[in-house]
C-alpha cells in the first residue's frame, strides 16, 4: 500500500514506523514542512498506561524512549506560601526533540521516506496514494479541506498561556499560584530530562492585559514571568522557543475520516493542556489506526473501526480536560481554602481522580486531608492522627445543631397523605430513611396550607392535629437513629392541585381541584389552570401561614427547617423572570423578584428558634433561555446568608416544562460549588450522587458541605417494578 503521511510530529512518525514495520512492502512517506531538528514546545508527559501500549506496539523505540525518560511520582502545589506534596502519581516525560529523533531514526532504519522542508498545499500533491494520514496538527490542511464532511467545531478558551522552558529541574509535577497587582497567575511545570523543565504560565485574559503582556515581545514576557516567579525559579532562567501567548482551542470533529483521508492526533481533536494528554492521545491514535489497518483488509472498514475505537476515549479525555480547564479559569473562587483542601480540590478537578483513587496513590496524603477535614468540621485545629474518618463521616454543625455525618437522605414522596395529615406510610418511609444511617433526613414537601399542596396526597402542617402527628413521627425517628430531621416547607403555587405523581407531573386534577396562586398568571403546563396573581394584600396571609407552619414545626421537634424557594413552587415563581411578569415592587429586577421570598424568609427566621438552623432549597437555574441563572442565585444566596440562612441547597428547573436540564454525573455540583465558595454559605447538594466515594470527593474538595444521596442507593429493593396499570 502507498501511504502518504502529512506531518512529522510524534503521531505521524509513529504511525509511519508501525506500518512499515508491519509490512515492509508498504510504501510510506512522511511530509514535514520544518527541518528534522526543529521542534516547538519542550517536554511531553506519558502515563504508565501509554507506556504499556508503546511497549506492545514497538519494543525497540519503547526501550529508547524509556531510557531517556524523566520519571517522578509527586505533585507539588505551591499556594499561599506553602507547598503541599502528594505522592504516588506516576509520570514520565521526555524532551519532544529527543522523542522525534528516536522516531525519525527508527523510521529511517525501517525505510520510511522522510521528506522535510516540504509544505503540502493541496492533498492532490501526494499523487497516487491509497491512504492519506493527516497528522498535521491543530491547523490541519486536510481537515480544513474536508471540513464539510468532517464537521469540525472549535471552542476557544478564555485564558492565555505561554509555553516556556527552564533550566531549573523540578522534582515533581509542580503547580504554582502567584498573585500580583495584575491578578492571579498559575504555572504547570514538570521536568523532562536531566537539565530542563517545561514551565507553562497561564492567566485570565483580563490579567494578561493588565500586565501589559498583550503587546509584549518574548523577552519582555520572560522578564515579567521571571520576576513574578523569582522565588520559585531560585535564580534559574526561563527560555523561549517561539513562546507566544495564545488561547487554547478545543477541537472536535464529527468524523475523523473521509474517503481515503484520515485524521490523527491534534488534527482531529485537542484536549486542554492542563491534563497533559495531547501527545499521548495522538500516539495512541497512531497505534489504533495501524492496528486497524493490519487487522482489516478493507481500508474503508479499518478507518471506521479506528474511529469507533478512539472517538469515545478521546471524548472522555476532552470532558475531563474541560472540567480541568474550568477549574483553572475559576481558581480564584478557592482563594480562602486551606492549602490542604486547595490541593485536594486541584487534584480531583477533572473528575478522573476521586478520594478513593487518591487514597490508593497516597494514603498518607488523604489521611492528612481527612484529618484536617474532620478537625475543621469540629472547629478544632488540625493535628496528626493515625486514621481519620472519611469526610462523609465528619460532623456538620449549624447553630446549636450537631449533625453527626454529612449524608442526607430525602425519601421520594408518594402522595399518600390524606387531608394533609402525614399518615403511616410517610412515617414508615422517614423512619426507614433515618435508620439507614444518614446525618440528616429531609422530608418531602410539606405544605403551609391546603391550597399549597401539590396533590391531594401532599402532607401539610397547617393544623394542630398535623403538627401533633409530625411530633410523633420525629419522636419515632429518634429511636434507633441519630439522624437530624429537617422539614421542607413550602407552597406549591403554580404546581398546586395536580394529580398524584404516579401519573406524571403537572396533570391537573379532574375534580376536587382548588384555585392556584403564583407571582403572575403563568401556568406550569399549557393544560394547567391559570394561577391567579398573588395580590400584595394577600401576601401577609401567606407569610402568616409560613410563620404558623414554622412554629408548628418547631413544636413538633424538627431540628432544621428547609424553606422551599425552588421546584417551580410559589416562592420560586417570584424569583424566575419566566414566571414573574409583575410590574409592582415584587417584580422586575432581582431585588424586586426576591422581595417577597425574602420577606417570607425573614418572617420564618424570626419565628424559627434562634438555636436551630434554617436552610433553603434555592432555585439555582431555570435551565431555560432568559430564565433565572446561577449569577442571580449566588447573589440571592448571599442575601439569605446575611439574613440568617444556614444551608443552601441548589435546585434546578421545574419553572417551565421547556427546560433543558443537563442530567448526568454531578449535575448540580457546579452550582453548589459556586454558591458555597462565592456566597460563603454552606451547601447541601444532591442530583445523581450514588456512592460514598463521590460524596467524599465533593466534601473534601469543598464543593459542598452535606451530600444528599440519591434515594435509589438504599431504596433499590423498596420500589415496585412498574407503574400501576388499571
Amino acid at each position: 500500500m502507498r501511504i502518504g503521511v502529512l506531518g512529522g510530529g510524534p503521531a505521524g512518525l509513529y504511525f509511519a514506523m508501525l506500518m512499515k514495520k508491519a509490512d515492509p512492502s508498504h510504501e510510506v512517506t512522511v511530509f514535514e514542512r520544518n527541518p528534522p531538528d526543529a521542534t516547538f514546545g519542550w517536554g511531553v508527559v506519558f502515563s504508565e498506561e501509554t507506556l504499556g501500549s508503546f511497549r506492545d506496539a514497538d519494543f525497540e523505540t519503547y526501550t529508547e524512549i524509556t531510557d531517556t525518560f524523566a520519571r517522578w511520582g509527586a505533585i507539588d502545589v505551591r499556594y499561599r506560601g506553602r507547598t503541599v506534596r502528594s505522592r504516588g502519581h506516576v509520570f514520565s516525560a521526555i524532551a519532544r526533540k529527543r522523542l522525534l529523533q528516536i522516531l525519525q531514526d527508527r523510521c529511517r532504519r525501517l525505510g520510511v521516506g522522510l521528506v522535510f522542508h516540504r509544505e503540502v498545499g493541496d492533498l492532490s500533491e501526494l499523487g497516487d496514494v491509497a491512504l492519506i494520514v493527516a497528522a498535521d496538527g491543530v491547523n490541519s490542511l486536510a481537515r480544513r479541506a474536508l471540513a464539510e464532511s468532517l464537521r469540525p467545531a472549535e471552542d476557544v478558551h478564555r485564558t492565555k498561556f505561554v509555553w516556556f522552558g527552564t533550566d531549573l529541574v523540578f522534582d515533581a509535577f509542580t503547580f504554582i499560584f502567584r498573585e500580583n497587582d495584575h491578578g492571579l497567575f498559575q504555572v504547570h511545570a514538570y521536568p523532562f530530562d536531566g537539565e530542563t523543565s517545561t514551565f507553562i504560565v497561564e492567566c485570565p485574559e483580563e490579567t494578561w492585559r493588565r500586565a501589559g503582556l498583550e503587546g509584549a515581545t518574548e523577552e519582555e514576557s520572560i522578564a515579567y514571568c521571571e520576576e513574578l516567579f523569582a522565588e520559585d525559579l531560585g535564580g534559574h532562567s526561563l527560555m523561549s522557543n517561539r513562546s507566544l501567548w495564545i488561547s487554547f482551542v478545543t477541537l472536535r470533529c464529527d468524523s475523523w475520516h473521509q474517503g481515503n483521508v484520515v485524521l490523527l492526533g491534534d488534527a482531529a481533536h485537542t484536549a486542554h493542556f492542563t491534563i497533559g494528554s495531547g501527545t499521548k492521545l495522538a500516539m495512541e491514535d497512531a497505534i489504533a489506526l495501524a492496528q486497524a489497518l493490519q487487522r482489516q483488509p478493507d481500508t474503508a472498514r479499518a478507518l471506521i473501526e479506528y474511529e469507533m475505537e478512539r472517538q469515545p476515549i478521546v471524548e472522555r479525555f476532552q470532558e475531563a480536560a474541560r472540567e480541568s480547564a474550568t477549574y483553572f479559569e475559576n481558581v480564584r473562587r478557592y482563594a480562602t481554602f486551606d492549602p490542604l483542601q486547595f490541593t485536594f480540590n486541584l487534584l480531583t478537578r477533572s473528575g478522573r481522580i476521586t478520594h478513593l483513587e487518591l487514597q490508593k496513590r497516597d494514603p498518607a496524603f488523604v489521611n492528612r486531608v481527612d484529618g484536617w477535614f474532620s478537625a475543621a468540621a469540629r472547629g478544632e485545629p488540625s493535628r496528626e492522627v493515625v486514621v481519620a474518618p472519611p469526610p462523609l463521616l465528619g460532623p456538620f454543625v449549624a447553630r446549636g445543631v450537631d449533625v453527626t455525618n454529612r449524608v442526607a437522605l430525602s425519601p421520594v414522596g408518594e402522595d399518600d397523605s390524606i387531608d394533609g395529615s402525614p399518615g403511616p406510610a410517610l412515617r414508615k418511609r422517614l423512619v426507614r430513611a433515618g435508620r439507614a444511617g444518614p446525618g440528616l433526613v429531609v422530608t418531602e414537601l410539606v405544605a403551609i396550607s391546603a391550597h399549597g399542596r401539590v396533590t391531594p396526597g401532599t402532607p401539610g402542617i397547617w393544623s394542630d392535629e398535623q403538627a401533633w402527628e409530625w411530633g410523633e413521627i420525629v419522636a419515632a425517628m429518634r429511636e434507633g437513629s441519630a439522624a437530624r430531621v429537617a422539614l421542607r416547607l413550602g407552597h406549591a403555587g403554580p404546581h398546586a392541585a395536580t394529580r398524584p405523581k404516579w401519573e406524571g407531573t403537572g396533570r391537573p386534577l379532574r375534580e376536587g381541584g382548588w384555585p392556584l396562586v403564583a407571582a403572575s398568571p403563568v401556568p406550569y403546563v399549557s393544560r394547567s389552570p391559570v394561577p391567579e396573581e398573588l395580590a400584595a394584600e394577600a401576601m401577609p396571609q401567606v407569610i402568616g401561614d409560613f410563620v404558623a407552619a414554622a412554629n408548628r414545626a418547631a413544636a413538633a421537634g424538627f431540628d432544621l427547617l428547609h424553606l422551599d424557594l425552588a421546584h417551580g413552587y410559589l416562592l420560586a415563581s417570584f424569583l424566575s423572570p419566566l414566571t414573574n411578569r409583575r410590574s409592582d415592587e415584587f417584580g422586575g429586577s432581582l431585588e424586586g423578584r426576591a422581595r417577597f421570598p425574602l420577606q417570607v424568609f425573614e418572617a420564618v427566621r424570626d419565628a424559627w428558634p434562634e438555636d436551630r438552623p434554617l436552610g433553603v432549597a434555592l432555585l439555582a437555574t431555570d435551565w431555560a433561555p432568559r430564565g433565572f441563572g446561577i449569577d442571580e442565585a449566588v447573589l440571592l444566596a448571599r442575601w439569605l446568608r446575611e439574613r440568617g440562612g444556614d444551608l443552601v441547597q441548589p435546585v434546578g428547573g421545574q419553572t417551565t416544562v421547556r427546560d433543558n436540564p443537563p442530567y448526568g454525573r454531578f449535575y448540580l455540583v457546579p452550582y453548589s460549588d459556586r454558591i458555597r465558595n462565592e456566597a460563603g454559605v454552606p451547601t447541601l447538594v444532591g442530583g445523581n450522587l450514588t456512592t460514598s466515594d463521590e460524596a467524599n470527593t465533593i466534601l473534601a474538595a469543598g464543593r459542598a458541605d452535606v451530600c444528599l444521596l440519591d434515594p435509589r442507593l438504599y431504596d433499590a429493593a423498596g420500589s415496585s417494578d412498574q407503574a400501576p396499570r388499571s
Binding site: 399549557s526 435551565w623 421545574q654 396499570r725
Partner: protein, 279 residues
C-alpha cells in the same frame, strides 16, 4: 432482563406475509415482545397497522413501538391508533415515542418540524385526557398503554420523567445505554416521581453468511441522513452469535429491563438464527 425481537417493518422488501409469519413465530419463541420502527418517507409498513396485524396472529408477546415519531401525527390520531392496537391486542401495547431525527418525514407528512418537542410534550398529556375521557375510544382501558419516551437531550429526559412510564434508548453500545439510563434515573428523581422508570434498549442484528453486507447496506441507507455516522451504525451491526450474546450481557449489566433486537435483513431465517442464539 427480557429480550424482544423487531419486526422488519422498515426493511425494504419485507412483505406483509413475512411480517405476519415473523410475528407468529415470535409469539412461540424465546422473545417477550415484538418491536416496530416508524418512517414516513421510506419504503416501510406503518407501525400501528403492522402491530394491529401482529396482534391478530399473537397472544402472548407485548407489542412495542421503538419508536413512533409522535409529532408526525396529531395527538388525537395518535391516541386513537395506540388505543386501538392496545384494545385489539388485549392490552399488550407499549407505546414508545420520540421526536425523531429526520426532517424529511415531517416534510412528507406535512407536519411542522419546528416546536416538535413542545408538541410531543403536549401529546403526552393530551392522549391521557382523550383516553381517560373516552373521547376518541375505543372503550376499555382508561389509562391507556404504558408510554416510553426516547431522546438524548435534557429536554427529552425531563419529558420522559414528567409524563412517561419509562425510557427507550435509541441504540448504541452498552456503555452508551448505561450513560443514558443514568440520566433517565436522575431526571426521574429530580422530578420527584415515585417508583422507577422502565428502561428499554435496542440493537440491530444480521446473522448468517451473506447477510452481513445486506444488513450494512440497509443501515447505511436508513441512516444516510446522519452523514458519516451511518457508517458507524452499520459497522456496529451485530453479525455473530458472540457479538449478540456480548451485547445482551452488556445491556443486562447496564440495567436494561427489556432489550429489543431489530432485524436488518427481511428474511425469516434471520428470526430463526436469532432465536437459536438466544435460546
Amino acid at each position: 432482563m427480557r429480550v424482544g425481537v423487531g419486526l422488519p417493518n422498515t426493511v425494504p422488501g419485507a412483505t406483509g406475509e413475512l411480517l405476519l409469519a415473523w410475528a407468529a413465530r415470535a409469539d412461540e419463541g424465546p422473545f417477550s415482545s415484538i418491536g416496530v420502527l416508524d418512517r414516513i418517507a421510506y419504503d416501510s409498513h406503518d407501525p400501528f397497522v403492522s402491530l394491529a396485524a401482529a396482534a391478530a396472529v399473537t397472544s402472548r408477546v407485548r407489542l412495542v413501538t421503538m419508536v413512533v415519531v409522535g409529532p408526525l401525527r396529531t395527538a388525537a390520531i395518535l391516541a386513537k391508533q395506540a388505543a386501538s392496537v392496545d384494545a385489539l391486542s388485549g392490552g399488550r401495547l407499549v407505546l414508545g415515542l420520540s421526536i425523531g431525527a429526520r426532517r424529511e418525514d415531517y416534510a412528507v407528512a406535512g407536519m411542522e418540524h419546528r416546536d416538535r418537542g413542545d408538541r410531543l410534550s403536549d401529546q403526552l398529556l393530551a392522549m391521557r385526557s382523550y383516553w381517560e375521557e373516552g373521547r376518541t375510544g375505543p372503550g376499555g382501558s382508561r389509562r391507556g398503554p404504558p408510554i416510553l419516551v426516547g431522546g438524548l437531550s435534557g429536554q427529552a429526559f425531563a419529558r420522559m420523567a414528567r409524563w412517561a412510564d419509562g425510557y427507550v434508548h435509541g441504540g448504541g453500545p452498552p456503555r452508551a445505554f448505561a450513560g443514558a439510563a443514568s440520566k433517565a434515573w436522575s431526571a426521574w428523581t429530580d422530578i420527584g416521581r415515585p417508583g422507577r422508570p422502565q428502561m428499554w434498549g435496542q440493537g440491530y442484528f444480521a446473522l448468517g453468511e451473506g447477510s452481513i453486507d445486506d444488513g450494512a447496506r440497509y443501515l447505511r441507507d436508513y441512516y444516510a441522513f446522519t452523514g458519516p455516522f451511518a457508517e458507524k451504525i452499520a459497522a456496529a451491526n451485530l453479525t455473530t452469535a458472540q457479538a449478540v450474546k456480548e451485547f445482551v450481557r452488556g445491556y443486562e449489566e447496564a440495567g436494561c429491563d427489556e432489550l429489543v433486537l431489530l432485524p436488518t435483513v427481511a428474511d425469516l431465517a434471520q428470526y430463526s438464527r436469532l432465536a437459536d442464539v438466544l435460546s
